[in-house]
C-alpha cells in the first residue's frame, strides 16, 4: 500500500560526528522521502545546531516541541536513571555483546521512556566504543591508578575511582590542550572521533577497552504526536529505521572502531589521512577480570540502590541475563 502523506520533524545528535553526517542526515533527509515516493516530508536539524547541550532533547520531546528526537542517552540520566542500565563501563566489551544487551533491555527502557518522557523508542544505535587515550606510558588498565582521566558520566567516574584514578571534567574542546600540557593524563572518546580531533598528536598510548561504554544514541518519538500519524506511515518509518538506519550503524560501529584504531596507531588500513604512531596497549585477561570485578562489586550495586527495585528486577531478567550479571542493591 502507498504511504499516506506525512510530515515529520527530526532533531538529531551532534552535527559534526559521523553518526549524524553519514547516517541520521541521509536517512531522515533523503531515504525516507525517496522510499515513500515523496509522501514523507521531513525537517532535519540537530540539537547542537539549535544551541542545546543535549540533555534537554527528551524533555523537549515530552512537551511536544518536536515529533522525533535523538540524543546521547547518557545525557538524560538525570531524568531517567533507567538509562544507566543500558550503558556501563566495560559491560559489553564487543559489538555483539552490546547488541545482545540492547535488544534484551529495549522493552524495559521503552517503558521508562513512556513514563518519564511520554515517548516511544524508535531506534537505539551506538557510537564507536569509547576507549582510553593516555599521554603517559601504560601497560594495562591497572596503570590508570593515580592518573588524571577526563571522562563524563557518573558510572564512568565511579569506575575510575574504583581503579584509583582521578576523574576530571573538561569540555571536549579543551581536551587536546589539556592532554598536551598534562592537565589530564588520559581521556576517553571514540577511536575515530579521537583521530579526527587530533588526539593522537597529543597522546602516546591507546587502551582499546570501552571504559566509557558505547554512548548509545536513542531515537524516540513523542507519543501523542506519533499517535497522530497514520498507522501505515508509522509502520513504514519503523521498518525503514530498522533496516536502513539501525542495522548499518551497528555494522559501522565495528568497522569504525577498527579503522579508528588503525588510524591512531598506524597498524592496519587508515583511509582517512596520515596515521598516527600511538602505542596500542594489549588488553589482557587480568584487565578484563579487574573491570568485571569493579562492575559487579561497585557499579551495579550502586546503580541498583539508585533506581526502583522493579527496574532492577526487570534489568536482571533482560540485560543482566544477556550479559551474565546480576544487580543487587547494596
Amino acid at each position: 500500500a502507498d504511504v499516506p502523506a506525512t510530515q515529520l520533524s527530526f532533531v538529531g545528535s551532534w552535527s559534526g560526528l559521523s553518526l549524524h553526517k553519514n547516517f541520521e542526515k541521509p536517512f531522515w533527509g533523503e531515504t525516507l522521502t525517496k522510499d515513500s515516493n515523496g509522501a514523507v516530508e521531513t525537517q532535519v536539524t540537530t540539537f547542537d545546531q539549535m544551541g542545546l547541550a543535549g540533555a534537554e532533547v527528551y524533555r523537549l520531546l515530552s512537551r511536544g516541541v518536536f515529533t522525533i528526537g535523538a540524543t546521547v542517552a547518557d545525557y538524560s540520566i538525570e531524568d531517567a536513571p533507567e538509562i544507566e542500565g543500558l550503558d556501563m563501563p566495560m559491560i559489553a566489551p564487543g559489538v555483539p555483546d552490546a547488541k545482545k544487551l540492547v535488544e534484551a533491555y529495549r522493552p524495559v527502557l521503552n517503558e521508562a521512556f513512556g513514563k518519564r518522557f511520554n515517548a516511544e523508542i524508535l531506534a537505539i544505535v551506538p557510537y564507536p566504543s569509547q576507549i582510553v587515550f593516555c599521554n603517559a606510558p601504560i601497560s594495562g588498565l591497572s596503570d590508570l591508578k593515580g592518573k588524571k582521566v577526563r571522562a563524563s558520566g557518573r558510572t564512568t567516574a565511579e569506575f575510575l575511582n574504583a581503579l584509583g584514578a582521578e576523574g576530571i571534567t573538561l569540555a571536549f574542546s579543551e581536551v587536546p590542550a589539556a592532554l598536551q600540557r598534562k592537565v589530564v593524563d588520559c581521556a576517553v572518546t571514540g577511536s575515530l572521533s579521537g583521530y579526527s580531533s587530533g588526539w593522537h598528536e597529543v597522546s602516546t598510548h591507546l587502551l582499546p577497552m570501552p571504559l566509557g561504554g558505547w554512548d548509545y544514541v536513542v531515537t524516540a518519538a513523542n507519543k501523542d504526536k506519533w499517535a497522530e500519524i497514520d498507522p501505515l506511515a508509522q509502520a513504514f518509518v519503523t521498518r525503514e529505521l530498522a533496516t536502513k538506519f539501525e542495522a548499518p550503524v551497528w555494522d559501522a560501529a565495528m568497522g569504525e572502531t577498527v579503522e579508528g584504531i588503525a588510524c591512531l596507531t598506524g597498524k592496519g588500513n587508515c583511509g582517512r589521512g596520515t596515521a598516527g604512531k600511538m602505542t596500542l596497549v594489549a588488553v589482557t585477561d587480568a584487565d578484563r577480570a579487574l573491570a568485571r570485578g569493579i562492575l559487579t562489586d561497585i557499579i551495579l550495586p550502586g546503580w541498583a540502590a539508585r533506581v526502583d527495585p522493579a527496574v532492577v528486577t526487570a534489568w536482571n531478567e533482560t540485560a543482566g541475563a544477556a550479559s551474565g550479571l546480576t544487580a543487587v542493591a547494596k
Binding site: S15, E56, R63, S173, E174
Partner: protein, 428 residues
C-alpha cells in the same frame, strides 16, 4: 520570512525595547508565524541550560576583575605610566589611551570591561588637558575592543565553545593580531593628528628618567597577565578557571596597594553583577532565538542560500565579512556570534579555511560591531563613564579606527600566518 524577521527586529530595537526582550520577542514571532511546532515551550530548558553553563562563568569573573583594578587605583597608575612612554607621538594622550587599553586587554576577557576600565581613568583627562573629545573618546572605544582579541577573551571562549575549537590555541592565535591592531590604531591616531593637529591635543614628551621611574607601575598589570595566561599555558588551569585566578590576583594587588576595603569590594560587586546580569540576559535570549531559528528551519534556509550563491572561497569570505559588517551595525556582539556561528562556521570550514584563523577574523568583525552605530556597546560605555562627551561625538571619533580594522581584516586574509603562526609554532 527572513525579511519579516529582520523588519520585526529593527522595529523593536528602534522602539527602544531592551535588546534581550527584542531577541525573545523575535523568537516568539518566528515561532508563531513560521514554525510547525510549539518552539516557545523550549524556553525554560534553553534559559536554564545556558544559565548554568560553567564556561560562561568567565563573564562575571572577568568583569569583576576589571572593576577591582579600577577601584584599587591600579588602572589610574598604569595610565599615568603609559602617558610617559607613549604620549610624545602626534596625538599625545590618544596613544596612552590605546596603550592602556592594549595592556588591560591582556588581563580582561571583555571589551566592554576594558573600555569601561580605561574610560574611567582617561576620560577626565580630555577636558582637563584640552583635547578634542571625539578622537579621544573614539580611541578609548576602539582600544577597548582589543579586550576580546588579546587573550584572555570571553568571545574566543564562546567561539571555541560553539565550534569545538581549542580555546588555548585560539588565545595564542589572537595575540599577534591584537598587538598589530593596536599598532594600527596608534598609526591611525598619529596620522589623523598629523593631518589635522586640532583633532588631538598637545604632545607630551617625557624624559627617560621619568619613564624609568614609572616603569614599576606597569608591573601589576603585567603580573596579572602572567598569572592568567601563564596558568593556562603551564597546564594548571583552563581558560575559564584562569579567570578565577585573575580575580584572586587582582584582590591580592588591591591589598598590596592598600586600597582594599569592604566599601570598595561592595561597589565592585554591585557594578559587576549589574553588568553580568545585563550581558547574560542578552546571551541567553540570543540562545533562545538561535533555537527558534534552527527549529523553524531559518538556519537551514540561510545555509542553503549561502551554499547556493556559488562564489569561490574568497568571494564567499567577502560576502560573510560584509554580512558581519552590516549585522554588526544592529546586533549586540555576543548575540551576533551565537546567532551566526552555527550557520557560518560549517560553511567556512567546508570552503577549506582554518577554523582557528576564522575565529580571529570573526573576533575582528565583532570588535568592529562594538564601535559601529547604532548598536555599539563600547560607544555606550565610553559615553556612559562621563566626561561630558556625547554619543554622537564618540561615534564620529571611532570611525577612523573602523578603517584600521578593515585594513587589519585585509592583512589577515592576505597573511593568515599573522593568526596561525603562534598556535602552529607552539603545537610543533
Amino acid at each position: 520570512m527572513l525579511g519579516a524577521a529582520l523588519v520585526v527586529l529593527l522595529v523593536l530595537l528602534l522602539l527602544s525595547v531592551p535588546i534581550a526582550a527584542t531577541l525573545v520577542a523575535l523568537g516568539l514571532f518566528i515561532d508563531q508565524s513560521f514554525s510547525f511546532f510549539p518552539l516557545y515551550k523550549a524556553m525554560g530548558e534553553v534559559f536554564w541550560s545556558t544559565s548554568n553553563s560553567f564556561l560562561l562563568i568567565a563573564v562575571p569573573l572577568f568583569v569583576l576583575l576589571g572593576e577591582i583594578l579600577v577601584r584599587a587605583g591600579i588602572a589610574g597608575r598604569t595610565y599615568a605610566a603609559l602617558d610617559k612612554w607613549l604620549s610624545w607621538m602626534p596625538g599625545g594622550l590618544l596613544h596612552a589611551n590605546i596603550g592602556t587599553a592594549t595592556l588591560f586587554s591582556a588581563t580582561s576577557g571583555s571589551s566592554v570591561a576594558t573600555a569601561a576600565t580605561v574610560g574611567a581613568v582617561a576620560m577626565p583627562q580630555a577636558k582637563a588637558l584640552g583635547y578634542d573629545n571625539r578622537l579621544f573618546a573614539g580611541a578609548i572605544a576602539a582600544g577597548g575592543t582589543l579586550g576580546i582579541m588579546i587573550p584572555p577573551s570571553i568571545n574566543l571562549i564562546v567561539y571555541g565553545f560553539l565550534t569545538e575549537t581549542s580555546i588555548p590555541r585560539l588565545f595564542l592565535a589572537g595575540l599577534i593580531p591584537g598587538l598589530l591592531l593596536a599598532a594600527l590604531f596608534m598609526a591611525t591616531a598619529a596620522g589623523a593628528c598629523m593631518w589635522k593637529p586640532s583633532l588631538g591635543g598637545p604632545r607630551r614628551p617625557a624624559g627617560w628618567g621619568d619613564r624609568l621611574r614609572v616603569l614599576p607601575d606597569l608591573l601589576p598589570v603585567l603580573g596579572l597577565f602572567a598569572v592568567i595566561v601563564g596558568s593556562i599555558y603551564a597546564g594548571w588551569a583552563t581558560p575559564t578557571e584562569a579567570a578565577a585566578l585573575g580575580v584572586v590576583a587582582a584582590l591580592g594587588l588591591s591589598i598590596a596597594n592598600r586600597s582594599f576595603n569592604l566599601r570598595m569590594l561592595k561597589a565592585a560587586v554591585e557594578a559587576s553583577i549589574k553588568t553580568t546580569a545585563m550581558i547574560m540576559l542578552i546571551i541567553i535570549s540570543a540562545y533562545f532565538l538561535n533555537f527558534v531559528l534552527a527549529g523553524a528551519g531559518v538556519t537551514r534556509n540561510l545555509q542553503a542560500l549561502i551554499d547556493g550563491l556559488g562564489f569561490g572561497p574568497y568571494g564567499m569570505l567577502a560576502c560573510i565579512v560584509l554580512m558581519y559588517v552590516i549585522l554588526g551595525f544592529f546586533i549586540e556582539t555576543l548575540s551576533l556570534m551565537v546567532i551566526t556561528i552555527p550557520i557560518v562556521a560549517p560553511v567556512i570550514t567546508a570552503l577549506g579555511f582554518d577554523p582557528i584563523w576564522f575565529g580571529v577574523l570573526l573576533i575582528l568583525m565583532v570588535e568592529m560591531a562594538l564601535i559601529t552605530p547604532p548598536v555599539g556597546l563600547n560607544l555606550y560605555v565610553v559615553q556612559g563613564v562621563g566626561g561630558g562627551v556625547s554619543l554622537n561625538q564618540v561615534m564620529v571619533g571611532a570611525l577612523p579606527f573602523v578603517g584600521a580594522m578593515l585594513v587589519m581584516a585585509l592583512l589577515l586574509v592576505l597573511f593568515p600566518g599573522i593568526a596561525l603562526f603562534l598556535p602552529t609554532a607552539m603545537a610543533g
